[in-house]
């Protein structure tokens, strides 16, 4: 690990200081283990999952006798073999691990084969006879809306009278666009590995953000108590929301195979199966109808959001709720209605993905602001500033939450200045006048993202901390490590409380038998929740040590100070480990559980009102692009970001989240296109066809800064803010910059329709439409 300069009194791993990821040295040398790297026991079973080839069909015949007789096959698992409940859903009970008589998407699991090798399992699976009676399939949002096919009932939030305000406003615009889904493309695919124990127990290595849910689902599936199942996660090779719910299916399958055979069992989806079988970011169709004044200030606005949820509910309720909670972004809409429909389609069940509906919600007002600016021939930043939430008034969201920490105006004005936004915008317009083929575009978009799970009960966390008699420390908590550096941050918190160097602290795998009943590591909440729980555990130990030392040395507790690896008791300097040893001999418990629940939040899911969020994270970005009007190809050339992480726990890790989140958001809005054919078969199921950003897609100029004045107004862990998801939405600026570049071909007279992802094809088609429209506008102007 990189040695950092620190003064002799400052602990290694101090909070607010940059520190490399705890696993970095192991990752670069190939020593950090992922589940598929664990040594394979000789009797390991390998599972392969047979999938539906049809989007919607009754299974009229399932004959697996040839599969059972194939070489190497030990077990064939179907719905009939499930001892408990054949479901691995997070909430709704509608995610059968094995299809029973109905399949509702291509890729749905029908049965699994367990064999001595994966090759044998795969080959055997192809011997099954599956006969279908096909049913009509609804594959798209449009079709679902037409058929009123909803997985959950529509929801609406209203305030004031949007319709009347729109009709009375001086200007009115409407807009509609689509936002595509996004595959998580975690580099490590879904995997689970189960080891059978005694009494029907199973120990599961699972790549999940939610070990507790895996534990509970597997227990229910096997019909054993929760305490029979242990789920263990050391690290994931990426997750991004894709391992919040959907890993449970595969954990259930290996647990069943292990239970029935008495042998360890592993299931690893290869890239194609992973992409075909698992859910993605929800695609949306969004509409707005807005009335506004000459300054661009919105008088009334109606939003209409419809998303493709797929075959089951999964987390679609909360995801679509969050989309509704983010169509305001940083803007106050006095008269507003937000309507949300959650479409059931015969496609994979869409799921959590970094931002969790927030990105789709937030892009709508961002396009709307640019459309208003284009219509009024004003700078889009001015329109945004005219609509920002206030601090004393105009500060209540459509869902009734008062915003107490609004720093969007400050962040935007600082970024406008540091990015030289105005002069660059002028230069771009000059360039575009003289460049017939290539056109540049620029856009600034802000972000305000609500932090907390909207389901209030998830906002709790536990930690377990042991101090051993040599002074070494073990920390465990309910948060999982997917690369985001949570383990590092939590260890820094413990180091800070106890004032010991971070290398004294062992970071251990998340497991359900150490800290129970945990929440998913999601909603950007990992360090907020688990940091606080770990702090509480460490503080408990520290308090015990202080009380012990005060008594033993007969001093007041205020005379005891923890300094780097030392404890000073008035004049006495004692090594931390020596005090620990003394405490042990005096029968002081050196193990503590910590617990935390987020204060202040409350939320009524029936009325969609309350304070669902503890606080907001903010940021803003300026993106500049260049497009080729002959081919639609483009490049993001320059990006300036100013992002609020509160008082950052670890600036190195936070910058990594900001940059990585931005690039991932850019991918969502540009090259990452999911293409389903008319039979509901995903044709982009591997990196050869599904294009996440590559190295050269990173903007050549990339200026990124943490907002220095940032400090959480709430009592979060050391005044930091959550950073996992919010930066993804900074990439909205890329999409808007592309639209700005396209708009130039009409001499900025028309604001272009553009759907996401803005592939080169979509950009070229937008350019073509605008050239045609511009020709018509010129024609009619000439005629007047």
């Amino acid at each position: 690990m990189a040695e950092r300069h620190h003064t002799s009194t400052e602990i290694k791993g101090k909070i607010h200081k940059p520190l490399a990821h705890d696993s970095a040295a192991k990752q670069v040398s190939g020593e950090a283990y992922y589940i598929d790297d664990l040594p394979e026991p000789k009797d390991l079973l390998h599972l392969y999952v047979a999938q539906s080839k049809k989007a919607h069909a009754k299974i009229t015949k399932l004959d697996v006798s040839a599969v059972r007789n194939a070489p190497g096959v030990v077990l064939v698992l179907t719905a009939d073999d499930v001892p408990g409940v054949n479901d691995a859903s997070p909430i709704a009970g509608d995610d059968p691990v094995f299809a029973e008589d109905l399949v509702e998407c291509v890729g749905q699991s029908i049965f699994a084969v367990a064999a001595d090798s994966i090759e044998q399992a795969r080959a055997a699976a192809s011997l099954a006879v599956v006969e279908y009676d096909e049913l009509p399939a609804i594959l798209t949002i449009e079709r679902a809306l037409a058929a009123e096919s909803y997985i959950l009932p529509p929801r609406e939030i209203t305030r004031g009278d949007a319709r009347e305000a729109i009709l009375e406003a001086k200007h009115r615009l409407t807009g509609q666009f689509e936002m595509g889904g996004q595959d998580h493309f975690y580099l490590e695919g879904q995997i689970a590995y189960a080891v059978p124990g005694e009494d029907g127990d199973v120990f599961i290595h699972t790549s999940t953000q939610h070990p507790t849910e895996v534990q509970h689902n597997v227990a229910r599936f096997l019909d054993v108590p929760d305490n029979s199942i242990t789920a263990n996660v050391r690290r994931m090779g990426g997750a991004f929301g894709g391992k919040e719910t959907q890993g449970a299916w595969y954990a259930a399958m290996v647990a069943l195979a292990a239970t029935l055979s008495g042998r360890p069992a592993k299931l690893r989806l290869d890239r194609d199966d992973d992409m075909i079988m698992t859910g993605k970011r929800h695609d949306f169709i969004a509409k707005y109808d807005v009335g506004f004044d000459d300054e661009g200030r919105v008088a009334g606005v109606e939003f209409d959001l419809a998303s493709r949820c797929g075959r089951s509910a999964d987390l679609s309720a909360a995801i679509n709720d969050r989309a509704m909670f983010h169509v305001d972004n940083c803007y106050y809409f006095e008269n507003v209605s937000i309507y949300s429909r959650r479409c059931k389609t015969h496609t994979v069940s869409n799921t959590a993905f970094r931002g969790f509906g927030g990105p789709q919600g937030m892009l709508v007002p961002e396009r709307m602001m640019d459309a208003i600016a284009s219509y009024l021939k004003k700078d889009p930043v001015e329109i945004r500033q005219a609509n920002f939430y206030g601090t004393a008034n105009r500060n209540v969201t459509p869902y009734g939450m008062t915003i107490e920490d609004n720093i969007a105006p400050e962040i935007v004005s600082e970024l406008v200045s540091t990015s030289k936004y105005a002069s660059r915008r002028e230069k771009i317009r000059v360039f575009n006048q003289t460049s017939p083929v290539l056109k540049k575009g620029i856009a600034l978009t802000p972000v305000k993202f609500g932090i907390s799970f909207t389901a209030t009960h998830f906002n709790q966390a536990g930690a377990l901390l042991h101090v051993y008699t040599d002074g070494s420390v073990m920390i465990n908590h309910g948060g999982t490590e997917m690369g985001q550096g949570l383990y590092t941050k939590v260890a820094q918190v413990v180091a800070e409380v106890l004032q010991v160097d971070i290398d004294q602290i062992k970071i251990t795998a998340t497991r359900t038998d150490k800290v129970p009943n945990t929440s998913a590591t999601a909603a950007s909440s990992g360090s907020d929740l688990n940091g606080k729980a770990a702090e509480a555990a460490a503080q408990t130990i520290k308090d015990r040590l202080i009380a012990f030392a005060a008594e033993k040395y007969n001093v007041s507790e205020s005379d005891i100070h923890f300094t780097r690896n030392q404890v000073r008791i008035q004049e006495i300097e004692l090594a931390f480990k020596d005090l620990v040893k003394e405490a042990y001999f005096n029968r002081i418990s050196l193990s503590a559980a910590g617990y935390y629940k987020t204060p202040k939040i409350h939320y009524d899911a029936k009325t969609l009102t309350g304070r669902p969020f503890y606080y907001f994270s903010y940021g803003a970005a300026v993106s500049e692009v260049i497009i080729d009007t002959l081919t639609g190809e483009y490049k993001v050339t320059a990006v300036d970001i100013l992002h609020d992480t509160g008082k950052s726990l670890n600036p190195a890790i936070d910058l990594g989240q900001i940059e990585g989140g931005f690039i991932q958001g850019m991918g969502w809005l540009t090259t990452e296109e999911l293409y389903f054919d008319d039979q509901g078969v995903l044709k982009t199921h591997a990196p050869s066809t599904y294009k996440i950003p590559a190295c050269s897609d990173r903007p050549e100029i990339f200026n990124m800064k943490i907002y220095e004045a940032g400090e959480n107004v709430e009592e979060t862990i050391y005044k930091s803010k959550a950073v996992g998801e919010p930066p993804l939405m900074l990439a909205n600026s890329v999409f808007n910059a592309l639209a700005d570049a396209v708009s130039s071909v009409s001499d900025y007279r028309v604001y272009p329709d553009l759907d996401a992802p803005a592939t080169p094809e979509r950009v070229l088609m937008a350019v073509d439409r605008l050239q045609d429209q511009a020709a018509q506008v010129s024609g009619s102007e000439a005629a007047q």
């Binding site: 990752q27 670069v28 580099l187 997917m482 081919t631 066809t689 294009k691 190295c695 897609d697 592939t759």
Partner: protein, 488 residues
């Protein structure tokens, strides 16, 4: 011929027998010998998590190249040195400078792609490192990272390029070269395994003979396509004949006005020469796949497999290249365009193989350009690939050859469009009037890469772009690559 496979690994010569001919190096490492540092991310050579480095003798010296272990067949390691992420630490357990740089730059998050990046950068510092941003982009185009956004890794690469790194591999070089030389001293491999066969001859005549005996054998060069038949389509290949050990097929030379490219020449090895004669061809090679794939994949393979979206055939056909096929009974030569009969059907009879390609060198008044359109600039398969070869005679089109990939079931010339242009002034008015002819040349399909409308529209627009570039060279027309516009 030998029945075992021999390669250098961890400084020692490893000799293996009874090897599944299509066992991948990745699966060998992970599941046969328990070296799990190298990861599988896609099993198709697109993500780079499986990147390992091969050392080979090249003109007598040792050359290190990054390749994708996931689609590399184990027997093709014969005669080479294999280096994986586990091998890099120094003997006292210290991190290699590449590893150290990645840690210091915060270049890891989830860490799953990391070993692949480390190996790409390791190969790079043993090659011709440069800290130029575009150079680093090319080096890393075949390594996908979903977490970092690449910035920290680019920073690490830049710092490494500027440092003069001396590592244990430099120190061991003489010994390694000796070992590799020792491994070259026979006439190749031929063995049977469970009724299947693997052969890796070293001489052209041996290849012809073995192919005569096994006319339906799969010919293997870089395995960047054939590898996927195994890892993605799960096919069992009965007989595999590897041509990568045949020195005669790896030759590239200019003979009078022809550039001769052996069928076994990799994209990487062809790159400089093609770029020297046709800068756009160089840019096309840069955009084909990634460093790892270009190190393995061959232009001969790109032709022989007959893909309608292979990137080199349009350029080669536009340049009027000729193909030389060979078999035990002799050779025959044909215009390359005649080789592609229909989708999946080439003019290649059993027992025959692609021996070499003849590419005419540039002539006076010739304008050549080639363009590739894909969703992503790097490491993507073309939606449309276009090549234009124009000879002007005082403003009049004397000759023009236009060929597209992605517009039909084969790489195909736009003969009607060409006919409408030949003999005409090279003018915008004529060009615009001939673009309609392209709709008669092609009926492109709609698939996940592009719609037929976009394919046709962009194909026409690329001809417009070629016109602009030949008539108004000061106009900015390029976003990436040679001659790209300034971004700032």
């Amino acid at each position: 011929m030998r029945q075992t496979i021999r390669f250098v690994h961890k400084g020692e010569i490893v000799e293996l027998e009874n090897i599944d001919p299509t066992r991948t190096v990745l699966n060998y490492l992970r599941y046969d010998i328990g070296l799990t540092g190298t990861k599988e991310g896609c099993a198709e050579g697109d993500c780079g998590a499986c990147t390992v480095v091969l050392g080979e003798l090249h003109d007598g010296s040792l050359r290190y190249q990054a390749v994708n272990a996931c689609i590399l067949f184990l027997p093709t390691l014969d005669g080479k040195e294999l280096i994986t992420v586990e091998d890099l630490k120094s003997d006292d357990g210290g991190l290699h400078p590449v590893q150290q740089a990645m840690v210091e730059a915060n270049g890891t998050q989830c860490g799953f792609c990391t070993p692949g990046f480390v190996m790409s950068l390791f190969a790079e510092i043993h090659g011709n490192p440069s800290s130029g941003r575009h150079h680093i982009d090319n080096v890393l185009a075949g390594n996908l990272c979903r977490c970092t956004g690449y910035g920290p890794i680019v920073d690490a690469a830049g710092k490494l390029a500027e440092a003069q790194i001396q590592d244990k591999f430099h120190d061991q070089q003489t010994r390694t070269i000796e070992q590799l030389k020792e491994l070259q001293q026979d006439d190749g491999i031929s063995y049977e395994w469970q009724g299947r066969r693997y052969a890796a001859p070293k001489k052209l005549e041996d290849l012809a003979r073995i192919l005569k005996e096994n006319p339906t054998a799969t010919i293997l060069a870089g395995a960047t396509d054939v590898g996927l038949w195994v890892t993605k389509l799960h096919q069992t290949l009965e007989t595999v004949i590897y041509i990568g050990q045949i020195e005669e097929l790896r030759q590239m030379e200019s003979v009078s006005d022809i550039l001769v490219i052996g069928a076994g020449v990799s994209y990487s090895d062809a790159w400089d020469k093609l770029a020297q004669y046709y800068p756009d061809f160089g840019e096309l090679i840069r955009r084909i796949a990634s460093t790892q794939i270009r190190n393995s994949g061959t232009i001969g393979g790109n032709i022989a497999n007959g893909s309608p979206i292979g990137d080199t055939p349009p350029a080669l056909i536009a340049l009027d290249s000729r193909l030389i096929l060979r078999s035990h009974s002799g050779s025959r030569e044909m215009p390359l365009e005649d080789f592609f009969i229909d989708y999946g059907k080439q003019d290649l009879v059993p027992g025959e193989f692609v021996e070499k390609i003849h590419v005419p060198l540039p002539s006076a008044n010739q304008h050549f350009a080639t363009y590739k359109i894909s969703k992503r600039f790097d490491q993507d398969i073309s939606a449309v690939c276009a090549a234009f070869n124009l000879t002007l005679d005082s403003g009049t089109v004397e000759k023009i050859r236009i060929c597209y990939g992605g517009m039909a079931g084969t790489p195909k010339r736009a003969r009607k469009t060409e006919a409408a242009l030949i003999g005409q002034p090279w003018s915008e008015a004529i060009l615009e009037s001939t673009l309609a002819a392209m709709a008669e040349d092609y009926e492109p399909m709609t698939d996940m890469r592009a719609s037929s409308t976009y394919r046709m529209k962009s194909a026409q627009n690329l001809l417009r772009k070629f016109f602009i570039e030949t008539t108004a060279p000061d106009t900015e027309t390029r976003i990436v690559g040679e001659g790209q516009v300034a971004y700032g």
